[in-house]
């Protein structure tokens, strides 16, 4: 059998189908990697002690179904993830497990219910290996804002894994799980995927229910998978997508309906039309290795029959500014629920106001408090028009730039990040410098488009380590199928 650290979900399913391995032996394998590597990397906040029990139950269920006369293929049609291990970001709730969002305020919070995605994965037969480190409440781009320590990059332990889903990217990269779930509000799946050399999908806004995901920017948040391959990410997306009966997340979409509505976008997989944006590449601050990787990939795609066109997205340069107004505005209202009264931890004060001031002042980290205050500022009277309303107008202008572009191209190609992973601590004194790492990713959250980060190259660091470089493809709403087609093409071309 192939090295467990590199096994894909599709390969695992085939091994389980053929009986070459069992879920129990897989979980033991991942546990061993966790024990060997997690002290250094810190991807897992907790490896569930009952994962092995869940694996045994899955093995038993598979055996029973086989005995009852079902074929292995039939079993995996009914339970497409039976006995497949998966790890999840710590802001997605699993009943009976701690969900801390890497914050002190939820250090001992045990979730009383399952997120919709968790429910869907359990129904498909998946088992959970553990919960993964992140920036506190998903606010950050390096996991340096976790109350439980930074997640280091498995390719270079002096560097960050990215964030906020740093644990979700690092766990796949280090081989501690074949696939993970993350959440993406401004790039939190794609940026760490790029830094760690894995595939990360930010689905269309609303295509995956947010019920059970701790809210950060409710008009921007989406849950998505991170894995070794595009095929794996596609497989998991097809299981977690769709509504929860319109019951808990009223913005969630019926995927098939959405696709039908926008099917006017005709797409020929033999001749994918790729838009590139010269004005974005000329803005400065983009590492030479990233530009080289982009140009090399463009050439590969051209020779493989793709049509590469230069397009203009005149308002996209304002995306980051718009994002750092709208996101904190939503953060400031979403974070109001952490008051030390209804759930989570509490620091006593002299009176009720003192309880609030102490609990929020002492148990929320600096980045979270910074964004709450920034959001309170941009929403306050006198500034609301200049910031919040103007940002919403600009957001609409950005969306119409993309709508126009998608009349002529199927996907837009950019780097995922302007640089490869940076050294731990190097950006921590300068929030704007840290935010600039999101410059290519925030746009898809503002427009609601699906976007994927694909490993496309690497560069040598000053200490001789190999730093991964990711490229990002963005497609029209609900057209994840185009992202998977072009992503597979990049994978094939790189393997040649």
């Amino acid at each position: 059998m192939k090295d467990i650290a590199k096994l894909t979900v599709i390969e695992i399913i085939n091994l389980l189908k053929s009986g070459e391995t069992s879920s129990e032996s897989l979980v033991n394998g991942y546990k061993k990697i966790y024990e060997e590597k997690n002290t250094d990397i810190n991807a897992y906040l907790e490896f569930f002690t009952d994962a092995i029990e869940s694996a045994k139950l899955a093995d038993k269920k598979r055996a029973e179904l086989l005995t009852s006369g079902k074929s292995a293929n039939e079993i995996y049609v009914e339970f497409p993830l039976l006995g497949v291990p998966i790890a999840i970001k710590d802001n997605i709730v699993v009943e009976g497990k701690v969900a801390s969002a890497s914050s002190k305020i939820l250090e001992n919070y045990k979730a009383p219910y399952n997120a919709t995605v968790v429910e869907k994965l359990l129904n498909a037969g998946a088992l959970f290996l553990g919960r993964l480190n992140m920036d506190e409440f998903a606010m950050g781009g390096s996991t340096e804002n976790s109350a439980y320590g930074v997640t280091k990059n498995p390719h270079d332990l002096e560097r960050v894994s990215g964030g906020s889903s740093g644990g979700s990217a690092a766990v796949v990269s280090m081989g501690g799980a074949p696939v993970s779930l993350g959440s993406d509000t401004g790039g939190s799946i794609r940026q760490p995927a790029a830094y760690c050399g894995v595939v990360g999908l930010k689905p269309t806004y609303g295509s995956v229910s947010r019920h059970g995901l701790m809210a950060m920017g409710s008009s921007l948040d989406v849950i998505g998978p991170l894995a070794h391959t595009v095929e794996d990410v596609e497989y998991i997306f097809n299981i977690i997508k769709n509504q929860d009966g319109d019951r808990y997340d009223s913005t969630s979409l019926k995927h098939e309906d959405e696709v039908k509505n926008i099917s006017r976008h005709t797409f020929n997989p033999e001749k994918i039309r790729i838009g590139i944006v010269p004005e974005l590449m000329n803005q400065g601050g983009i590492d030479k290795s990233v530009i080289e990787t982009l140009n090399k990939t463009i050439e590969l795609l051209r020779t493989a029959g793709c049509e590469v066109k230069e397009i203009s997205l005149p308002h996209v340069k304002y995306s980051l500014a718009v994002y750092y107004i709208l996101m904190p505005a939503e953060v400031s209202s979403n974070m109001a629920r952490f008051d030390g009264v209804k759930f989570g931890s509490k620091v006593e004060g002299d009176d009720l106001l003192g309880d609030y001031l102490n609990t929020r002042g002492e148990l929320l980290g600096k980045e979270v408090r910074r964004r709450i205050m920034l959001g309170t500022y941009v929403l306050s009277s006198g500034y609301h028009d200049a910031y919040y309303n103007k940002a919403n107008i600009t957001k609409d202008l950005i969306s119409s730039d993309f709508e126009k572009a998608f009349e002529n191209v199927d996907v837009v190609l950019t780097p995922t990040t302007p640089t490869p992973s940076f050294k731990i601590g190097s950006h921590s004194d300068d929030p704007v410098q840290m935010y600039l790492e999101d410059i290519f990713t925030v746009t898809a959250n503002l427009t609601g488009s699906p976007a994927i980060s694909i490993p496309a190259g690497s560069t040598k660091s000053d200490t001789g380590t190999d730093l991964s470089i990711g490229l990002q493809f963005t497609a029209p709403h609900s057209r994840e199928d185009i992202l998977f087609a072009v992503g597979k093409k990049v994978q094939q071309l790189r393997a040649l």
Binding site: R369, Y377, I393
Partner: protein
Amino acid sequence: MSITEADVKKLASLSRMKLTEQEITQFTKEIDSILGYVEQIKEVSSDSVKAKLPEHRNILREDIADTNVNPDAGSVLNCAPSVQDGLVKVKKILNQ
């Protein structure tokens, strides 16, 4: 400086967070630099676009009473830091 330490104190108080003097100084500097960056949206020409509320605003579902819900009231109450007689307990807010 577009934002002052007094502004930050006010924001901290509005958002119910106790800050140290040192934190106030630091947050003032950082929030000022972020506001300096986001200022650039002022140059966006929006003459052609009428100021409007976001398209996806207050999307609500029907509020249906349902007693057969997961989690039930008991397990939700268990999440609260302080509970008495099946109720969430807070300090009194009125004198007398």
